[in-house]
Symmetry: C2
Subunit: 354 residues, 2 copies
Amino acid sequence: MKICVLPGDGIGPEIMAEAVRVLKALDLKLEMEEGLLGGCAVDATGTPYPEATQKLAREADAVLLGAVGGPKWDTLPREQRPERGLLGIRKDLGLFANLRPAILYPELANASSLKPEIVAGLDILIVRELTGDIYFGQPRGIETREVNGTQQRVGWNTMIYAEYEIRRILKVAFEAAQKRGKKLCSVDKMNVLECTQLWRDIAEEVAKDYPDVELTHMLVDNAAMQLVRAPKQFDVMVTGNMFGDILSDEASMLTGSIGMLPSASLDANNKGLYEPSHGSAPDIAGKNLANPLATILSAAMMLRYTFNQEAAAQRVENAVKKVLAQGYRTGDIYEPGTRKVGTREMGDAVLAAL
Amino acid sequence: MKICVLPGDGIGPEIMAEAVRVLKALDLKLEMEEGLLGGCAVDATGTPYPEATQKLAREADAVLLGAVGGPKWDTLPREQRPERGLLGIRKDLGLFANLRPAILYPELANASSLKPEIVAGLDILIVRELTGDIYFGQPRGIETREVNGTQQRVGWNTMIYAEYEIRRILKVAFEAAQKRGKKLCSVDKMNVLECTQLWRDIAEEVAKDYPDVELTHMLVDNAAMQLVRAPKQFDVMVTGNMFGDILSDEASMLTGSIGMLPSASLDANNKGLYEPSHGSAPDIAGKNLANPLATILSAAMMLRYTFNQEAAAQRVENAVKKVLAQGYRTGDIYEPGTRKVGTREMGDAVLAAL
Ligand SMILES: CC(C)[C@H](C(=O)O)[C@@H](O)C(=O)O
Ligand SMILES: CC(C)[C@H](C(=O)O)[C@@H](O)C(=O)O
């Protein structure tokens, strides 16, 4: 069980340190090796996904990632920006299936900006395609050409999906729905985009293999509305890379506690990259303020999906539930009457609860 | 002052009847002529934007639209679906600037699924580009070709913007911000899409002409989150056609009363198409249940933007505020303690308040 550990930038190293401590406490035969991804890799090697990291990641069974990015690297040329590292490792490892749960922990119900009756008990799984769509489609670029008789800059990208890409992500989504509430909502914009008309057609075809799952379709604009209006109508949602980027962030913010939400990005053989849903929060980096729980829960997802260690995964998840019940809170989820702790102390509490 | 009136489908005819009554009560020299758009046009002529309507719309100074679409026409070939009519008239009339206010009326604060302190006083204007982007970009389609050694269907679309398209919509947005809170947030996905990198570059350039407006940039995934977390941070938002479709619907749902929200789609000379932000609600069509206020407020926007009749626009808007204060509510915004009325009675109340 080989893990490539990539702390990344900003709060990445701090939150990763706690997740690693938790993993080490589990008495599993885990091998961990650290590498560089994102801004720290640019600083050290000039490129956000250096060869040494590529080798490490390819040889490992799973990758555990903190977070990448920060204003320091925002003005670099495109190929050197930290997010290129993230896009690069996703594509390189074929991590086409991004699973993002949006769960509202009962203890944190107040953190949501939505009314309690709208979000209490929220438990959605968003399945986002991660290696196709307009993110990687060719041709793309910016060039100067003649438009309406004058020389102008023009920028363009290509949204594109082949049948096999749509089919495999839909299978992942149907299988996830089978293990949960048996409801799958596929999101597209078929009334405007041919690319997503194909998506809808294939969803209908794949559905025939999963008669126990109820498939519905929703247009992306309506989905963005329904997530605000009545998010509990959803069980599993599946969509393309671009719409998934937007909707999964919207859905996680419904909980008000994005510092609690893990994610998994899987290939066809359950090799995966696991990372918190939140960003690198450069403003609080190095201050022992960040919430390590999303990273710890990402480690639990890794135990479940890649290593098939369901018992260990549940042990970690239960420990997290226990520290919440005990009242431990980092600043992002703190409210009066609870116990404010730092990153390190939150890790201590999880270890104690294990 | 020539108005092309297009009631459309579903609840369209009912809500339009009330808006027309209000306009007629204003003692302005308005000429109104009715035409067909959407499903009703398909039924009558086989096409959703027939030539007679094209002529009418081109010759008019403004178009007032109810709503188009319904399940009845969803299985027709693409070119015959009602939304083709909508896309067709937007493109044909060059209506590139879509203005969508998301306003929470104090009387309707409870209708929101968000906590009152998060949304009370909400007043955002979303400026969406409406005739470019992936909506109209070429090439596009679905075809079968060889992928990884097998014959597969592939679907694709093209996101594309030329400099002049970005520049003109940003000008509209900056000018709108100047008349409001002087804050403009431009939304893109520049870290992934070259097309929107150009958008951001041009936004920076145009900003030089509006030193009194504070320009910020936000990535679309973050914008979807921030609208849920703290929507009152925004004054005017500007973005492309696709992101604008998603974000403007999300923003209007924050108010919980999409039945109250008008919209304007303008060309370069303030000719415009005005329509409610909600859809055609086929489930309640013909039952005197629909809320006509968004259409009435769209008529007010028409008086303001196309006909420069600020006083008349305010008269209508004040009448709407008055009926809300008097407690009149259609079913969509009803709560105990208020007075439930039908479409027609709501129109009567507005007329009385005028
Ligand atoms: C950093 C960025 C490229 C990335 C994406 O858009 O996929 C991020 O927003 C995410 O969702 O993981
Ligand atoms: C009906 C559809 C084509 C349209 C769009 O996507 O523009 C609608 O959602 C809107 O926002 O007016």
